[in-house]
Subunit: 330 residues, 6 copies
């Protein structure tokens, strides 16, 4: 069976099927066209360029197609990329189903759904419980297949649900350590906080912002969903518990300049905001350092203010490393 | 008939009925209590302090009461205030109806309503027209009696409608000068943009922020009203024209740090934002300079970044001054 | 007669005379030289590249020359550009007069001058009136032929006067709506506010910053002009009305960080600042959205904080659009 | 037995012994002196003023003294304070030992020490382990008795150790959820991160900044302690594991503008920074909301950007509240 | 002969004549008026309050009057102030000439003028030389008697000239160390840079901002003086050397947000800006630390971003202190 | 003898030996590799590109090698670069010693060392004196051969010592002008302030940041050196004079956001910070303007906020230019 994309090292000759994640046609400084590809399989994604691309090639090799690739893994400005030797569309017999090449969150949708349902069970306020159940049901397919963001963190299929679940787990730990936190509110807010991304983004493949995403944004879009669900369930969106739930969701970006129309003014709103950042940043940092060589710094992480992170040379220091299995990154 | 509050000069002995706008009980540095009043009638409002206030006085002189006042107008740190000689509750015979003492916008609700209806007539998109009509009808009483803000600009009764109308008039001028602006969208956005203040604020008297105002904010509150109205009118809040209307309203604060969840990304959204600021700032600057003496600067205006504005000494330069009658400030 | 630059669509073969607005010689990554042109006629301007440029071509094709061009309109990174098939200098018979290819403001200099003179008539303060008349006369040629900026807004020939006139018209509307504004001061300030650009910029073609523009800036340069004119007219630049006029002009960028040495501290100074921004931004937004396809966003506008603006898909919403004829953009 | 300070309600007459936490002599606006006290016992602290203070009273009632107080709890600007009826020094028989009146962290030093030692046990890198053990031993008394800050969060006796322990517990949860985190590094960094406060601050009572605290700051002060300990233990502070430990400690304020000389550039450094903020903010928010009345907002919290936090009216929503016992606030 | 203000220690009984620098009438919280004085003589200035001030006292004790004072020096919030026992206007016999009580720069006007003239001699460019001579002559009286600022640094009489001279001395040192600096330009810019303060400020006593100071600011005011002088001397303000001189003066605040309309874009402009800050800050820091007790920090210095500066306990470290005599502060 | 790099003009054919300062292999847009060189000799450094580089060329031409070069000096985007005709490794006979091609500070290490020792002699506090002597001795080789920064200012060999010496000279001038400055402290701080760069940077050639440089930074690294030296000399790093010295060094970046863990809170700390900036900026500005043509602006200087500096056309104005010989830039 063919090796996957990230099972090749720098300098290796490669031969494998991959999915075209994006294909950007550009004009080189010599006036000829080339295609800048991002190619992916379940192990990750890498860039590659097809020089002197014919009109025929441009027509064939589009985002969403599965191709048979031969080439070589090289370094360009310290970043790995693929030098293409040959490329052609995969045949039906070879298995050209794009879905099978998508990067995926480390846990399966069904498993995640089950664990999230356990958290829903702990939302004892009946209004919150009904709202959450209804919206989970309504957006189920997108919620368990979308990424949590176009790039940056949890950008894989199912990343949205996985990011949500990770926050719920962190929230549970916090609730066990501090008394006085309204856990049903924190759980309900965590489950809903990014669900508006199912409307803001176009889908699991070739993800783009929708017009609604650009003009309204996922924060107000989920508020809209809550209001509509409440209307249908005959719950007044202006009663105190509904204002609380909406506030926790609206405030989760923490600062006005990050797009929240109000700053956190409830204990649970501020905690949700912090746990959201904690999980997203841990995801970005661990992913990046795992790809760095020992004794070097990662590339600049744009989701972390452009900082670079150090991977120590002497790995034996990791002997007591965290052994959490939930978020293990294969 | 009694002179009104602003018809007395510094040093004048005063005797007149006024409304207690606010009454704040404090402890002086000698350990005794006093009441810090803001007193008002239709000509404006001024501070006054009642020293050595008895428990009885504290119980009687509360915000919303009409009182008979005798005292003297003095300057304190360059600001006028009233030195109280005597104060007692007004009797029914003397006319103790708080409503009659509120500062009011320069135009009557009925007149404003009529002119706003003319603008509604020009909203030719049927969805926007129906939404605007429904919300104007639903919030009519508050919309034509509330101030536009707790303090700063248009803080008088009816100020919300008057500020809205002033923006509509400016918008009309702009529409006559530039072609290519979607005027129905701009008018609909202008009418709705601050209507959420009818939910954010507690009322025309003793105005405070409500819990919904603090936790959700007037920008998302009017978005909620639009969504609910659309639901009831069987209009999909996700269709393009509805996204456009909601965007124009959501973006009207211009910057994320001023509380808009999205920045203006449509021509009409940016124009509405600028006209909103233009009208509010003209209102603040003209009000302040009219109270300043020729050849001096006003107090610092907090709604204008703390700037002070100069009123020229040589008034004859005003001979060609703008003669707009609409917004004349008595 | 030949079609103009913007009368061709993407994919069209083109053949027309154009003016070289700028010609930047660069070295491609294969070591060969090419020329990056901006080509223009009265309909607008577009980029084009001439690959493998000979020394002869570099010597001939300079900014300010009229050329006969054949090529094709293409898209590059979503932006239109011209693929050059052939290019040669235009002969005298073909009409190689650069002036005839400049983009121009939508109104003729003579018409604009007449309308501006009407505004000057309303400047009843004799000192302001004399200063304005003298400086208008002294800088007349440049004032009616220069652009208002190197790029961004009103970058066409005559753009400076047209931008000034647009502000005057907005100012007039504002003066009709609000009483208490010193209209002569506002008109005088509006006419002079950007006149220093006739010294800051090098001219209507191949516009660059002058040394005085870089070291002093147009705001202080027009203050210098006012002082010199006052000296010659025996008006003391320190008397109150002159301080007022100079303040309104000096403060028109609104914020110190935008280059004004003082913030607006008079009502008219702040209004001029706001109307200046309003006209410039409407010009940028309308120009950009008119070039965007329905249902898409414009390119990032650098004069608008890098925002992109949405042009709606369903154009019928424009049925009630502003019908201002003054600033119609062909 | 006497009720404690926070066992009285507004309006209650009080009679109890308290410790003077601070005593600030001021001159009232009538020219007479008064003492502004902060009085405390183990239940918390409240302000009180002694008017017309004699020189004798000023000499007697100093910070650190235990006094017998009679008075009444009142509200002043919505904040509780004590109106003093009588005050005198406590006699030896009445028990005038200041230590017994200090607010204390919710867990005893011995208990905390034991749990922290368990964490030290998990620091398997021998250099980190030895450094941590040595510094814990050296600063033991101060570490388990000092507050974590002069005011803001964990300002009680033992607050420094308790804040440290809370972070360790959060770190442990995070380590169980994510794999790839260097837990020994995170634990070592957490234990040392604020230990420099034992040098920066003057002590558990009447806490002030020392000269070293002002000129060097607790971040570099603990780096100094690490270097000196390493010297004595013959460990090179420049070897990689020592650079890692020092980095995690130096970077824990997260941003340069908050006083860290470097930003977090290791996974563990960033996590420590986030958990530090999470614990401090939860402590501040829960303390404040527990003192607020249902349906109201807290005072502005200066450690939380001046935000006010809402305590909901309908308390039954808390039925599922977090039941963590560790950080329960009596 | 009477001791001067700063020759008394805390707790000393005082009896001396002083000048009233400012006298602010306020109302105490018991409703009675008091006067908040700043009293000064050549040794410095201190606050004092006169309680229960009669109308007669308010009428007599105004800024600019010399009074005979008896009282006591006390500490209030760590700041020294005077408790007034008795106060009366000084008689003619006692010497009531305000000029004799003003704080003064450490060098005499005539001495400073002579040294500045030496620098003028080194301005070999004839245009700069003539402009500088003319403006020095024209503003001579104010230039050698005004303070450099209302408060902050060099706020004493003659401070403007002394600050200018200090910068010239620093500039000379810099010119001796680095080659390639245009020293005539740097000297000319230094002499003129703050001369606009003679128009911006009202005078040496009871210093306030003038209307021209508020509306135009001292930076553009000196540019105006340069232009007018050039006109009269038949020098074109637009020729290169004049643009250079004006640029150096206009840019001396360094940043746009500090009021310069252009940032320094010449070597000499940037150096002048830095030396201006260096001299002003050294003046503020040395003045403040000399008033602090050994082993303590100064009050917050508002001209230094609110920082407090440490005066070491062990003074013997100063044995090698700078022995510059020029700027010695008595 | 061969001309040096900067002795050729634009358009000149060149033939000379140079050192490869850096060699960056990239892929051109036509898919072929090229090497982007920075070539240097003692006169300065210039970029050059080798197109279509063979694997053999890539292997040979690495940073640190001396090569024989033939080519032509050209302009690219207004910046000079070299067009390569031929390149080969220099032979031993031709003199291929990299050290002889490094740019060097304008004064020799031995001369600088002597003058710095004179300053050490004036550090009369024995503790500071011993610490400074010890660290100067310990880091002598690196201190007199390293640059002061990777790029920006004083980036030449020996630049670190030369920058230090320049600050000492400025400090001496300041000490002669103002009394009350602790000169031994200022001298000690100046000598040590950037000495941590000998640990932060990798060396005089191919300068990079070390791991310690990235994770700890040169400010805390020199604090570490001071602590270790003090330990060995039996001086307590917590005694007042040591806190003072460490403070002056730690605070020398002036602002927290520039990496100082504390802001300057002593007179000498603030002066050191200002002189550090003054010397660095004069170095950058003079170097840049000397390379600009008369009547033009320099390239943007990234160390000066991206500003460009003007070199006047009329050079005769320099007749009175500073004749400092110390920092003359050949």
């Amino acid at each position: 069976m063919a090796k996957r994309l990230f099972e090749y090292q720098n300098g290796d000759e490669m031969k494998l099927p991959v999915l075209i994640k994006s294909a950007d046609v550009r004009v080189a400084k010599n006036g000829k066209k080339f295609i800048a590809f991002i190619l992916q399989d379940t192990s990750g994604h890498l860039p590659a360029k097809l020089w002197d691309a014919s009109d025929d090639a441009i027509a064939q090799f589009k985002a969403g197609e599965v191709v048979q690739l031969s080439g070589k893994r090289e370094l360009y400005h310290d970043n790995p990329q693929i030098k293409i030797y040959g490329i052609r569309l995969a045949t039906q017999e070879e298995g050209n189903q794009p879905q099978q090449f998508l990067e995926r969150a480390p846990e399966a949708p069904a498993t995640m759904q089950e664990e999230i349902n356990d958290f829903v069970f702990d939302i004892v306020n009946p209004n919150w419980n009904r709202i959450v159940r209804r919206l989970l049901a309504e957006h189920k397919d997108a919620f368990f297949s979308y990424p949590a963001a176009k790039s940056n963190h949890h950008a894989s299929g199912g990343g949205l649900a996985f990011h949500t679940l990770s926050i719920l787990r962190l929230a549970k730990s916090v609730g066990q350590q501090y008394s006085g936190i309204n856990m049903p509110l924190l759980y309900a807010g965590a489950i809903l906080h990014d669900m508006g991304k199912t409307i803001e983004l176009s889908g699991a493949m070739s993800t783009e912002y929708t017009v609604a995403g650009n003009l309204i944004g996922h924060i107000v879009l989920i508020d809209e969903e809550i209001i509509k669900a409440a209307q249908e369930l005959k719950i007044d969106p202006q009663q105190e518990d509904m204002l609380m739930l909406r506030h926790v969701v609206l405030a989760h970006h923490g600062l006005l300049e990050y797009g929240s129309p109000v700053r956190p003014q409830m204990v649970e709103a501020d905690i949700l905001h912090q746990l959201d950042e904690l999980d997203a940043s841990i995801n970005m940092m661990l992913t990046a350092t795992q790809h760095a060589d020992p004794g070097t710094f990662t590339q600049q992480l744009f989701g972390m203010d452009g900082r670079r992170f150090y991977r120590p040379e002497s790995l034996q220091h990791y002997s007591g490393a965290g052994n959490g299995s939930a978020n293990k990154h294969g």
